[in-house]
């Protein structure tokens, strides 16, 4: 299977550990992943807030490059995924004219949905040598991956299941909870810190109340918010994993605790207690 990969800016900085775990997982699952040449930022919230033309143009350039390669796109970041799909629909509906030749016909996958397909789940299960038995997790999806459904294509946007299926496949005990797709605040905390802290704080609180020992995410910004905004909760700290980190733990490919040094909320004590490290 051949796919084109659109990493997005976060994966070169704040989430460079996510980027490394993704490329390792794809290698381990023997899927050929080629980065889109000269990809540009998707524009994120800033572009669609200030300039509609930028918000369509920026992802369109990446869609055009992927079409040239003739490969479907897989996007690990919820925001990038949402903006790519948005731009694709604007092009398909002929609501916007762009100076590149793009049909919008290739598929844009969010990475969790790609991994949650039955074929991929089977492939994951084959490779799990160290099932994460007894690890109680809640899966957190955030906004942009699931909403609005007319853009994302999610039909179970109220109770999404992709991460749940992946975490189950790797042996973790997935707890049902009500805050799967409640907003973490995104970048609002940078300008209005108390709003950001109250939104992220509520999600952490509810994860703890649900009995979770860890949170599983796929969005770099959700990970940063939930992981970093925990310093005021010293007794109730709860590690926040990228789902690709759980996969690699299950494949027994992470044995060095140093791997987790980029986390603010240290998951090593929990993993040691469970004998996963």
């Amino acid at each position: 299977m051949k796919l084109s990969f659109y990493p997005g800016c976060s994966l070169e900085g704040m989430a460079n550990d996510y980027a490394r775990s993704i490329s390792a997982v794809f290698t381990e699952l023997e899927i050929d992943l080629v980065e889109i040449a000269d990809w540009t930022c998707c524009g994120a919230t800033a572009a669609h807030s200030l300039s509609q033309s930028m918000s369509v143009l920026l992802p369109a350039r990446n869609l055009a490059a992927a079409e040239k390669m003739g490969r479907d796109i897989v996007s690990p970041c919820a925001m990038c995924f949402n903006r790519l799909r948005f731009s694709q629909q604007m092009i398909q509906k002929k609501l916007f004219d762009i100076p590149w030749s793009v049909t919008g016909d290739i598929q844009v996958h969010d990475m969790t949905r790609f991994f949650a397909e039955p074929r991929m789940i089977a492939s994951i299960k084959e490779r799990v040598v160290k099932p994460l038995v007894g690890l109680k997790v809640v899966c957190y999806y955030g906004c942009q991956m699931v909403r609005p459904p007319k853009i994302t294509g999610y039909t179970d946007y109220e109770n999404p299941q992709t991460l749940d299926r992946i975490a189950t496949a790797v042996g973790a005990e997935v707890i049902d909870w009500s805050y799967k797709s409640t907003c973490c605040g995104a970048s609002i905390g940078i300008a209005r810190r108390q709003i950001g802290e109250s939104l992220a704080g509520r999600i952490l609180e509810k994860a703890g109340q649900a009995g979770a020992q860890a949170i599983v995410v796929s969005c770099p910004l959700c990970q940063s918010n939930l992981d970093i905004l925990q310093k005021d909760r010293p007794e109730k700290r709860i590690p926040v994993f990228y789902f690709t980190e759980l996969l690699r733990l299950g494949f027994n490919k992470i044995t060095d605790p140093q791997w987790f040094k980029m986390h603010f909320t240290d998951p090593v004590p929990l993993l040691r207690a469970k004998h996963f490290l």
Partner: protein, 213 residues
């Protein structure tokens, strides 16, 4: 506005307050409503004020005009109130309102479109820091095609108003400490690749702005 002088006031009687100026439905016609409906592709007339959007919104508490009121304001043509509101910058684009509207009114896209209009207008934003953050993001993006977090944050903090605000509310020290931890942990990269497609994008943007080459 002209204030009427009441003769009683000068005769030692308590002054009667002039009736508060009220805006009536249709005062400004439905030009603004029609414009937003056309540009944003949203059927705002379909809003019947059930408040589902406001109840779904995680930040309605911080908004001066609640999401359902935004719809009503547009129907009434109250443009300036909307463009200077805190609401349009507090909105997280989390899409809860749009997803749960029983009448399929795309509330988030409507608020987003108001941000677009405000950014191009002369109206000063109520929540300046949020508008400045988005603008800084695009400035960094325009120079390198991708957004490096160190460049973004240093450009943002070097804006005088932002720095003043951060010093006033005492969050500056905390945020510098977080920044240093991020650097130490290897989450911030000084140098990240630029996209060679940036020239191509700038050219495309010029063309969209009406400049033929």
């Amino acid at each position: 506005m002209e204030h009427h002088h009441h003769p009683e006031a000068s005769a030692g009687q308590p002054a009667r307050q002039p009736a508060k100026e009220r805006k009536r439905i249709g005062d400004r016609g439905d030009f603004f409503l029609n414009r937003i409906q056309g540009e944003a592709g949203v059927n705002i007339s379909a809003c019947y004020q059930c408040e589902r959007c406001t109840n779904a919104c995680p930040v309605s508490h911080y908004m001066d005009i609640k999401p359902h009121q935004v719809m009503r304001y547009i129907q009434l043509g109250w443009r300036e109130e909307l463009l200077k509101s805190a609401t349009i910058w507090v909105c997280l684009s989390c899409e809860m309102c749009t997803t749960y509207c029983p009448n399929e009114v795309d509330v988030a896209e409507t608020i987003n479109h108001l941000r677009n209009i405000a950014a191009q207008s002369s109206v000063a934003p109520e929540y300046e820091s949020l508008a400045v953050f988005h603008q800084t993001f695009l400035d960094v993006l325009r120079t390198s095609g991708r957004v490096n977090e160190i460049r973004l944050m240093s450009a943002y903090y070097s804006k005088l108003n932002i720095l003043k605000e951060k010093m006033k509310d005492g969050s500056l020290k905390d945020e510098i400490l977080v920044g240093m931890s991020l650097l130490r942990k290897g989450r911030l990269k000084l140098l990240t690749p630029r996209s060679r497609a940036i020239k191509e994008l700038q050219k495309a943007h010029h063309r969209i702005s009406g400049e033929m080459d």
